[in-house]
Amino acid sequence: MIPVDLLIDKILPAFITFYLVSLGHSIFEKSGILNLAIDGIFFAATGAAILGAYLLLPIIPYPPIAGSVLAVLVSILLGLFMSTVLTFLPISHGAVGLSLQFFSYGVGIILGYSVRMRYGTVYQIAYTREDVLELLVISIVIGLTLHVLIEKTKLGVAIRAVGENPHSASALGVKVMHIRIIAAIIGFALMGLGASLFILSWQRTWDFRQYSQGYGWLAFATALAAGRHPIMLIPVSLLFGGLASTQTDISASLKVPTDVAKLIPFLAALILMLVYSSTGLRKIFASPSSLGKPYYKEEKSI
C-alpha cells in the first residue's frame, strides 16, 4: 500500500507534471514539428515559474498561479518561435530544436537564479495539497477534452492533416502556419504549465543544475512510449512519474544508491519505446508521417 503522503506529495504531482508536459508535447508534435527543444523549454519554464511567483504577484495574488502563468507565457513564446521558424523556412527541425534547447537552458538560469538566491526554497510559493487534487482533476479533464478535440473536431483534423502531409493539407485549404501556431500555443501552454508544477508542486526546490537532470527528456520518452495518445499517456505518465518521484524511497527501502532509481525510468522508457516500435502496436501509435520533415513551401517563402 502506498502511503498517502507519498501519493499526494510526490507521485501525484509527478504524474501531473509528466502528463501535462507529454500531452502538450504530443499535441504539438501531431502538427508535424519534431520537438527536440523540450528539455530546454521545460527548464526555462521552471525558471519562469519561480520568477513569476514573485514577479507577477501584484497582478495575480496567489503565488503558485502567478508562477504557472509566467511559465506558460515563456514556454509559449519559445514554442512559437520554433513553430514559426520551422514552418516558414525549410530547415532541420533537429538542429533548431537542440539549439533552442541550449539557449533555453541559459534563459532558465537567468530567469530563476536570482530569485532562488534571494528566497532559497520554494515551499512558501508552492501549491497546497488541496491544489494538487484540483490540478489532478483539471489535467485529466484537459486530457480528455484534447482527445475529443484531436479525434472529432475540424481543428483536430487540421492538426493531424498538417502533421501527415503539409503540402496536401495546404492544397486542401488548410493554412499550415495558422494550424501549427495553434498547435504550438496549446502544446507549449501545457508544457509550461506542467513544468511549473514540477517546481511548484513536486520538487518544491529549484537549482540551476536541474537543467542537466533530463526530466524534459523523460517527458519526451513518455510521449513516444504512449504513441502521443492522450488516453494512453495517463498510465505511462503514472508509471514514469511514479518511478521518478519515488527514487529516494525505492533506494532507501532496497538499499541501493539513488542512481539506481534514477536509472529505472530512463531504462523503462527505452524498453517501452522498443516494445511499442517492434510489435504490432506500432501501427496504432505511429508517428505523424511528416514529423520532423522540413517544409518546403516552394519558392514562396523567399
Partner: protein, 501 residues
C-alpha cells in the same frame, strides 16, 4: 460572345538561377467550356497550375476572375473564389477519413465542429452525382478511381466555378475517363469552366473545346477543337524534337527461344502497406531477351509485385525463381548479386543519391561488395555511360543534384542497364521525362533485351509505353495478373477493359 470567367494576361515566372518557367503567358477560360492546356513534361504546365491555385505567385502579369483583377495568395484563396484543383496524385491525406479530408476545404465548418454536417453534405452530393463512397472510410482504403471521385465530389461540394484537372484523368483508361466526362459535361452545362492539363494529345482532343499549347514556357498555339489535328498539335508541342519521338511498336527481330526462363514467379502473394493483399497469386515467366509489360492503373499491386521480385518486400506465399534458384525473401542483396537491375517508381526519389557525384552513385552499385573502391575502373564505367547516353554535363565528378531531371534519369537507367546482366525490373521507367528522352530510354531498354539476352519485366501506367515495348502484355487489376496477351493481335479495348473491371 460571352466574357471569360477566368483569364490570365502576361504571366511571367522565373525561378532563381534564371530558369524561365513561364514567359508572357496569356489565356482565357470561358464558362461552359473545357479548355485544355497541352505541353510535354517541363513545358511549364505545372508552374501555371500552381499559379492558378495559389501555390506560386507570378513574377509579373495579372489574373482576372469574372472581369475583376484578383490575387491568389494561397490555395484557400483559390477555393474561396471557386477555383478548385484535382491533380494526378490525389491530394487527400491517407490516414484521415473522406469526411475529414473534405472538412478541411469547407470554410462553412467551424474549427470546433464535428464531422456530422460534412458527412451529411457529402451523402447528399454523392446521391446527386451518383457515387457510392462511405464518408467514414479512411482514404488509404480507397482505390485510385475512388480517390479521384472524392476529389470531384469535393469540387461539387465547394461549388467550383473553375475546375482544374492537372493530369487527373491522364492515366485512366478511356472507359474510366468517360465516366468522369459525364460529371464534366454536367459541370459545363451549369456554366462552369474546366481547365484540363495534360501531355496526352488524344485526351485533349476527346473533350476540350479550346486548346492552348505550351512549349518551353511560351504559348505556341491556341486552337479551337474543330480545327485542330493531331499532327498539327504534335508539331507545336515538340517542335524540332518531334521527329525523335515515336510511339511505333518496337518489334523483336526474332522469336523468343523456348528455353529455360530467367525469372519464374509462382503463386506469389504479397501484402501491401496496410496489411491488405496487394498481389494475389501471381504467376508468370520471363525468358531471355523477352520484355514483359504489365499494364494497370496506379495502385493495383504493380509496385508491390516489383518490390517483391527484387526483394524489397516480404513474400507471404509463393516463390520467385531467378536462374533456377529460389530467391523468395532472400533480400535485395542476394537478388541483385544475380545480375538484376532495378528501376523503381520515382527513380529520382529512390534510385539516386543527389548529394553524391555521378561516379559515386555508380560505384555504390558496382563496388558494394568491395572493401576498398577501385576508383579508376569506376571512372572508366562512368565515362563510358556518360558518352553512350550523352549525359550532360559530361563530368563524372559532378554532384547529381546539379543535373537536370532528364539527365539524372539517364544516370539511373544507364547504370541499371549496365548492371543488368540477367534481368531488369522497372516501374514507370520513363515517367517525368520529356518525350524525346523517353523514346530514347525505351529504345535503350529494347536494345538491352535484344542485344544482351536480358529478361525484362516492367510495369507502367502508360499503356502506350507498355504496348510499344512489350513482347507479352499482362494487366494487373486489384492484385490479380491477367495475361499474357499478344501486344499486336489483342485489341486495345480488351486490355483497357481488364484494367478497370
Amino acid at each position: 460572345m460571352t466574357s471569360p470567367l477566368l483569364s490570365i494576361t502576361g504571366i511571367n515566372k522565373s525561378f532563381p538561377g534564371g530558369v524561365i518557367a513561364l514567359d508572357d503567358v496569356s489565356m482565357e477560360f470561358y464558362p461552359g467550356e473545357v479548355t485544355a492546356i497541352l505541353g510535354e513534361n517541363g513545358a511549364g504546365k505545372s508552374t501555371l497550375v500552381k499559379i492558378l491555385y495559389g501555390i506560386y505567385s507570378p513574377d509579373k502579369g495579372d489574373i482576372f476572375f469574372q472581369g475583376k483583377r484578383i490575387v491568389i495568395g494561397s490555395p484557400i484563396d483559390a477555393i474561396k473564389k471557386g477555383i478548385v484543383m484535382v491533380s494526378q496524385i490525389p491530394q487527400l491525406i491517407d490516414r484521415l477519413t473522406v469526411a475529414e479530408n473534405l472538412s478541411l476545404s469547407l470554410t462553412s465548418v467551424g474549427l470546433f465542429e464535428s464531422m456530422k454536417n460534412v458527412r451529411r453534405v457529402f451523402k447528399e452530393i454523392s446521391d446527386k452525382i451518383g457515387i457510392k463512397i462511405n464518408p467514414d472510410a479512411k482514404v488509404w482504403s480507397l482505390n485510385y478511381t475512388q480517390k479521384q471521385l472524392v476529389e470531384i465530389a469535393r469540387a461539387v461540394l465547394l461549388d467550383a466555378k473553375v475546375l482544374i484537372l492537372d493530369e487527373a484523368l491522364t492515366y485512366l483508361p478511356v472507359e474510366e475517363r468517360r465516366k468522369f466526362y459525364v460529371y464534366l459535361q454536367r459541370f459545363k452545362e451549369e456554366g462552369r469552366s474546366i481547365v484540363l492539363i495534360t501531355h496526352k494529345i488524344p485526351e485533349a482532343l476527346e473533350i476540350s473545346d479550346r486548346i492552348y499549347i505550351l512549349r518551353r514556357g511560351k504559348v505556341v498555339g491556341s486552337l479551337v477543337r474543330e480545327n485542330a489535328t493531331l499532327e498539327q498539335i504534335r508539331e507545336l508541342m515538340f517542335g524540332e524534337a518531334a521527329k525523335l519521338i515515336t510511339y511505333e511498336r518496337f518489334s523483336n527481330p526474332y522469336e523468343i527461344q523456348v528455353g529455360e526462363p530467367i525469372i519464374q514467379v509462382e503463386n506469389l502473394v504479397v501484402e501491401g502497406e496496410y496489411g491488405e493483399i496487394a498481389v494475389n497469386k501471381v504467376s508468370f515467366k520471363a525468358r531471355a531477351g523477352e520484355i514483359i509489360g504489365i499494364a494497370g492503373i496506379v495502385g493495383n499491386g504493380q509496385r508491390e509485385l516489383l518490390e517483391a521480385l527484387v526483394g524489397l518486400r516480404r513474400i507471404r506465399s509463393g516463390r520467385v525463381i531467378i536462374d533456377g534458384v529460389d530467391v523468395s525473401n532472400k533480400g535485395v542483396g542476394v537478388i541483385r548479386e544475380k545480375g538484376v537491375g532495378f528501376i523503381p517508381d520515382q527513380p529520382l526519389r529512390y534510385a539516386v543519391s543527389a548529394e553524391n557525384t555521378i561516379v559515386e552513385n555508380i560505384a555504390a552499385l558496382f563496388s558494394r561488395q568491395q572493401v576498398v573502391i577501385n576508383w579508376s575502373s569506376m571512372i572508366e564505367i562512368t565515362n563510358k555511360l556518360i558518352k553512350e547516353y550523352s549525359i550532360y554535363p559530361p563530368n563524372p565528378n559532378i554532384h547529381v543534384k546539379l543535373l537536370s531531371g532528364g539527365n539524372i534519369m539517364k544516370v539511373v537507367v544507364s547504370r541499371e542497364l549496365e548492371y543488368a546482366t540477367r534481368a531488369l525490373l522497372a516501374y514507370n521507367p520513363t515517367r517525368g521525362l520529356d518525350e524525346a528522352t523517353a523514346t530514347f530510354v525505351r529504345k535503350k531498354i529494347k536494345e538491352k533485351a535484344v542485344g544482351d539476352k536480358v529478361s525484362i519485366v516492367f510495369a507502367s501506367e502508360d499503356l502506350d509505353e507498355v504496348l510499344q515495348l512489350s513482347d507479352a502484355v499482362f494487366v494487373m487489376n486489384r492484385g490479380v495478373l491477367y495475361g499474357p496477351f499478344d501486344p499486336v493481335s489483342t485489341p486495345r479495348s480488351k486490355i483497357e477493359e481488364l484494367m478497370v473491371m
